[in-house]
Structure formats: structure tokens, C-alpha cells
């Protein structure tokens, strides 16, 4: 198909990028000098000595925020098609969307009242 041709520059770009990266990495592996000391093999933590285990249990409130984010994030999906044909839907579409947003806000006030968003 002809349309493949328009992707050709991108393909070349990808190829050149990959080539440069491989060559540079390869060169550094081949001709670089290696020192293995105990200090150097330690996990790097912003220059501070590492403390404790990396497998920390994450506080539950992160999950709460994540779960709430999924819901409100995905509901916005309905606003995009509505915005695209906003003009042709007119007043009716506007009012319908107001109802939709009102339902979302009810949910928001509910989680706010429940204290689900309180961080401390």
C-alpha cells in the first residue's frame, strides 16, 4: 500500500536513533575502564546511605486516591465527544451534561464528606 511510504522517515529516524544508542553504549562497554569496589556496587539513593528494605508496604491512602482517580478520570471520557458536537446538540445536550456532571459532583461531595481525601 502507498501509505506506508509516509511512515518511511519515521522508520529511518527510529533506525538511526537505535544505531546511535547501540554504538555509544557498545563503545563505552568495550573501551571503558571498570572499577568494582564495595561502595560502588551499593544501590544509589541520592547520595545518602541506603536505609531499610525497598519493599515498603504503601499506605492505604495511596490506593484510595488511585481508585478514586480511576473513576473520575474515566468519566471525563464522555465530555470529549460531547464537546466535539456541542454546537449541534444545543441546549438539550448542555442540560444533559449538567445532569451528568451533577451526578459526578454528588459522588465527589460524598467522598469529601467521608474524608477519603484527607491525607493525615
Amino acid at each position: 500500500m502507498d501509505k506506508v511510504e509516509i511512515y518511511l522517515p519515521i522508520l529511518i529516524m527510529v533506525a538511526v536513533g537505535a544505531l546511535i544508542a547501540t554504538v555509544l553504549m557498545g563503545l563505552s562497554v568495550l573501551i571503558g575502564k571498570r572499577t568494582r569496589s564495595k561502595v560502588k556496587m551499593q544501590p544509589y539513593e541520592c547520595g545518602v546511605d541506603p536505609v531499610g528494605d525497598t519493599k515498603h508496604p504503601v499506605p492505604v491512602k495511596y490506593y484510595m486516591v488511585a481508585i478514586l482517580f480511576i473513576i473520575f478520570d474515566i468519566e471525563v471520557v464522555f465530555l470529549y465527544p460531547w464537546a466535539v458536537i456541542y454546537d449541534s446538540l444545543g441546549m438539550f445536550g448542555f442540560l444533559e451534561m449538567l445532569v451528568f456532571v451533577a451526578i459526578l459532583i454528588t459522588g465527589y461531595f460524598y467522598i469529601l464528606g467521608k474524608g477519603a481525601l484527607k491525607w493525615d
Binding site: 481508585i67 480511576i70 474515566i74
Partner: protein, 100 residues
């Protein structure tokens, strides 16, 4: 040339993967993700069929099912979280207080 039929094949494979995963996995999170794969397989099928038939409603349906899946995910994760806090495990084979 990749046509809509190929997407249908992918969607069928995804559905099979989802069903198998949900049936053989012991981890609740894994089962849940397998179920999400099933829903997304259906979404892919809707899009592919909409493309084949030149019909818009398939696209709209995907929007709706995505939202439904998100709501389900929120409730499911909430339930799994409650269970984990009380039992300290998400292994499905350990939940057998009730037996017939």
C-alpha cells in the same frame, strides 16, 4: 495488509487468555486482571466489527463499557483491599471458610 479480521483474531486470543488466566490463577489480583483482559477483548471486537460494518455505534459502546469496567475495577480493588487488610493475603485458595 492488516485488516479488521486480524483485530478479531487478536481479540479472540485475548479473550481466551483472559478466560484461562481467570480459571487457573490463584492470585485475586491476577484473576481480576484476567477478567479485565476479557472485557478489553470485547472492546477490541466491538471496534473491529464497527470498522467492518462502517457503523458508529460500536465505537460508542466501547466508551460505555470502558466506564463500566472502571467502576467495576474500583469496587473490586476496594473489596480486595479490605480482604487483604483483614487476612494479609490475596491467595484465592485460602478463602474457604465456607464449604459444602
Amino acid at each position: 495488509m492488516i485488516g479488521a479480521e486480524h483485530f478479531l483474531i487478536v481479540s479472540a486470543i485475548l479473550f481466551a487468555v483472559g478466560v484461562t488466566g481467570a480459571l487457573i490463577s490463584r492470585n485475586l489480583i491476577m484473576i481480576f486482571m484476567a477478567v479485565e483482559i476479557m472485557l478489553n477483548a470485547a472492546n477490541l471486537a466491538f471496534i473491529a466489527f464497527a470498522r467492518i460494518h462502517g457503523d458508529m455505534s460500536g465505537h460508542v459502546i466501547v466508551f460505555l463499557t470502558l466506564t463500566v469496567a472502571a467502576a467495576e475495577a474500583a469496587v473490586g480493588l476496594g473489596l480486595i483491599m479490605t480482604l487483604y487488610r483483614r487476612r494479609g493475603s490475596v491467595d484465592a485458595s485460602k478463602f474457604n471458610i465456607m464449604k459444602w
